[in-house]
């Protein structure tokens, strides 16, 4: 293996048993298994002449799933790789295998360098222990040596901004302080390869910024980072390479923007699925966003957004929440009907159309998503409609008609200049 390569996976696969098989596995089965084991081994040696995995592949797959299926890739030293995919695509499983928490069912991975993994913020923190004690405990759990922690101690405390509370039990910490301290310990590991699972989404905006700059700093030291995140903007920002996983398969490995675009295009396909969607207690027929004055949506033009749905049950106090998101699924704005008006009760199966009229659509040109929650405040019951509705705002003259790039963000401001010279 060349020394430029930090991680190489070949045919990495992981099967999880699901369903009832586990709970029905009794001690009796185990004893029977143990008795049969020598014979099974014999059979395996016989069959492995042709195909070593024969024993695996002939097993029934009805109650097992392949969380990872034949994933092969290489990661070069110094690369920062974002692993992207929907929930259940196998991202976390991949990180768990690479950090040696669980074994692959097939295939192998070669790791060249010391690995540090941060799959959860604050693993092993004990609430009764003080901040100082937890730094040492957590550091030891993450594989740091005491001398290493001693050396980094002040830096960790400063980074976490908990100097005054360092000898207070962490159960008295605010959740923000707790998370900051936990991230600070992990961020100061001296490893060549860092595996990070969706932990950047913690803390306040200020601290997130700090985390990002810490990650950039780690990257600039020439270390290899493998990162799982749903935050596409952050991934584009930090990573140079991307790996797209889908149903346990590696679909694409390429430059990060290319991979993120492909992934988002994939979710758009999903977003344009059947118009009618069901939740547990509602059927959503249609979500419409349209302009009364023109066939396309324009910034600052009036428009209407309407949700047509029927409850499957009698609803005492119906409510609707509508969220406006970027295509990276960042929430831009939200409207809740109950802040404006209340609705009469709805009977099961009765059709209703609820929505808002906007005097001026504030979004700049681009593709956006609508998220809908339907509620019955009398129970109370809140159900998120399990899909995003897409709408596009056309590129039209705003701010004097120039082309607006990403520096202008997503929201248009109705502004008049103040110029006193």
């Amino acid at each position: 293996m060349s020394s430029d390569i930090a991680i190489r996976c070949e045919g990495l696969s992981k099967r999880y048993r699901i369903g009832k098989t586990d709970s029905y596995r009794t001690l009796r089965d185990v004893i029977a298994d143990a008795a049969a084991a020598p014979f099974r081994r014999l059979r395996r040696t016989v069959s492995s002449n042709g195909n070593g995995n024969l024993a695996d592949s002939i097993e029934p797959t009805a109650n097992s799933i392949w969380a990872l299926n034949d994933v092969s890739f290489e990661i070069n030293r110094g690369d920062v790789v974002g692993i992207i995919g929907r929930n259940g695509a196998g991202k976390s499983t991949l990180l768990k295998i690479l950090s040696r928490i669980t074994k692959p069912t097939r295939g192998h991975a070669d790791i060249n360098g010391r690995v540090g993994s941060l799959l959860e913020v604050g693993t092993g923190f004990h609430p009764e222990l003080t901040g100082r004690e937890n730094i040492y405990l957590n550091g030891a759990i993450l594989g740091m040596h005491k001398a290493e922690i001693d050396r980094k101690f002040d830096e960790i405390v400063a980074f976490a901004e908990v100097e005054q509370f360092i000898d207070t039990p962490v159960k008295r910490y605010s959740s923000g302080m707790y998370v900051r301290l936990a991230f600070a310990v992990a961020a100061h590991m001296e490893t060549e390869i860092l595996l990070v699972d969706e932990v950047l989404a913690v803390g306040d905006a200020q601290f997130q910024k700090k985390c990002f700059s810490k990650m950039s700093q780690i990257r600039n030291q020439g270390k290899t980072i493998v990162l799982v995140s749903h935050n596409m903007a952050a991934v584009r920002n930090i990573c140079n390479q991307g790996l797209h996983l889908q149903h346990g398969h590696a679909v694409l490995q390429a430059e990060i923007n290319q991979v993120v675009d492909a992934y988002l295009a994939g979710t758009e396909e999903a977003a344009e699925g059947p118009m009618e969607v069901e939740t547990e207690n509602f059927v959503v027929n249609e979500v419409l966003i349209e302009s009364s004055s023109s066939p396309i949506l324009k910034t600052f033009a009036p428009c209407e957004i309407r949700v047509r749905f029927q409850p499957k049950i009698d609803v005492g106090d119906p409510g609707v929440y509508i969220g406006f998101l970027t295509k990276e699924l960042h929430r831009l704005a939200g409207l809740d009907l109950k802040d404006f008006t209340s609705l009469p009760p709805l009977r099961a199966g009765q059709s209703a159309e609820i929505g808002f009229s906007l005097e001026s659509l504030p979004f700049l040109a681009g593709s956006y998503r609508v998220e809908v929650h339907l509620k019955d405040m009398s129970r109370p019951l809140i159900e998120r409609v399990p899909r995003y509705y897409r709408f596009d705002v056309a590129e039209t003259p705003v701010y004097g008609g120039r082309h607006l790039d990403s520096w202008f963000g997503n929201v248009g401001l109705t502004a008049t200049p103040i110029a006193r010279v």
Binding site: D22, L98, L119, L129, A140, G143, G222
Partner: protein, 291 residues
């Protein structure tokens, strides 16, 4: 590559050595070596886990570490009343309170270590599913965490011996060996039970029962001299019998040295421990998926 390493690893020669080798992650292999070398690399984690358990154990209790003394002391008083006074159980010519307290110390160490280690993997599942380290560290820390309590209670035993005017002979030098045997017994059984507990939570419910049963099978409240001579070798199949008699012999001096019985105990412990280590190592490859 060399320059990167120098930059990112300003200290710690050992890191460079670790980094130089490529590590291969492969499917579970069945039986594997115990991996003492890796265990040694993680000795600081072992230390910190023991330290955590000791530190947290008596947090927010009014009496604190006094509990380490109170538990065996009250057991001793109860035993002295019921077995010593009422039932007139013989005690090999040793005052009954010392006789039973001397046995209760290794017994409590063992019982505590067994219970803690059996539940240790399940209790630390948040660690097991989120971080890699040799899993053996967890039951090992659970077993060793009780030694501090033992040492505290041991001071009381010395006072008690002083009160009754018992002066130990040279045999006291063998005491660490018996202590080790008690720890090894607890670890041997604890390894089996902790690994089983990951899959079958039934284990949790059997432990209390097992410990109580084991207490009566061990000469804590009575001397092993009650057992007929010809059966005593078989009595050694319970390693704690060897440990308890060893403690009495080493500290109180009056009982006979535990001869053949002790060697049977040692043999049983070695088997339990080796079996436990290999069974644990085999099962640990699935811990994170099953727990």
């Amino acid at each position: 590559m060399a320059s990167i390493l120098e930059q990112s690893q300003p200290v710690g020669v050992s890191h460079d050595a670790e980094a130089a080798q490529v590590f291969r992650i492969e499917p579970a292999k069945g039986w594997t070596a115990v991996g003492f070398r890796e265990l040694w690399q993680y000795r600081e984690l072992l230390y910190f886990l023991i330290w955590r358990d000791v530190k947290v154990r008596y947090k927010q209790t009014a009496l604190g570490a006094a509990w380490a003394i109170i538990q065996p002391l009250f057991m001793m008083i109860v035993f002295s009343l019921f077995f010593g006074r009422l039932a007139r159980v013989p005690s090999d010519g040793i005052p009954y309170p010392v006789f039973s307290f001397c046995a209760l110390l290794p017994w409590q160490l063992f019982a505590h270590a067994l219970t803690e280690s059996s539940n240790s993997l399940v209790g630390n599942q948040n660690l097991i599913t989120k971080v890699y380290f040799p899993r053996l560290v967890i039951p090992l820390a659970a077993v060793l965490g009780g030694v501090i309590d033992f040492l505290i209670a041991f001071a009381i035993l010395l006072l008690l011996m002083l009160y009754y005017g018992i002066v130990p002979g040279w045999a006291i030098l063998t005491l660490p060996a018996f202590l080790l045997l008690a720890i090894a017994t607890a670890l041997g059984v604890g390894l089996w039970l902790s690994a089983l507990n990951v899959q079958y939570r039934d284990v949790r419910y059997t432990i209390n029962f097992l410990v109580q049963f084991w207490l009566f099978a061990t000469p804590v409240a009575y001397p092993s001299s009650l057992i007929p001579e010809k059966w005593r070798v078989f009595y050694g199949l319970n390693p704690m019998a060897g440990v308890v008699e060893g403690f009495r012999w080493a500290l109180l001096g009056k009982s006979e040295p535990p001869g053949m019985m002790l060697w049977v105990s040692v043999a049983v412990v070695v088997l339990l421990l080796l079996g436990g280590l290999y069974y644990f190592r085999r099962m640990e490859q699935e811990f994170a998926d099953v727990v």
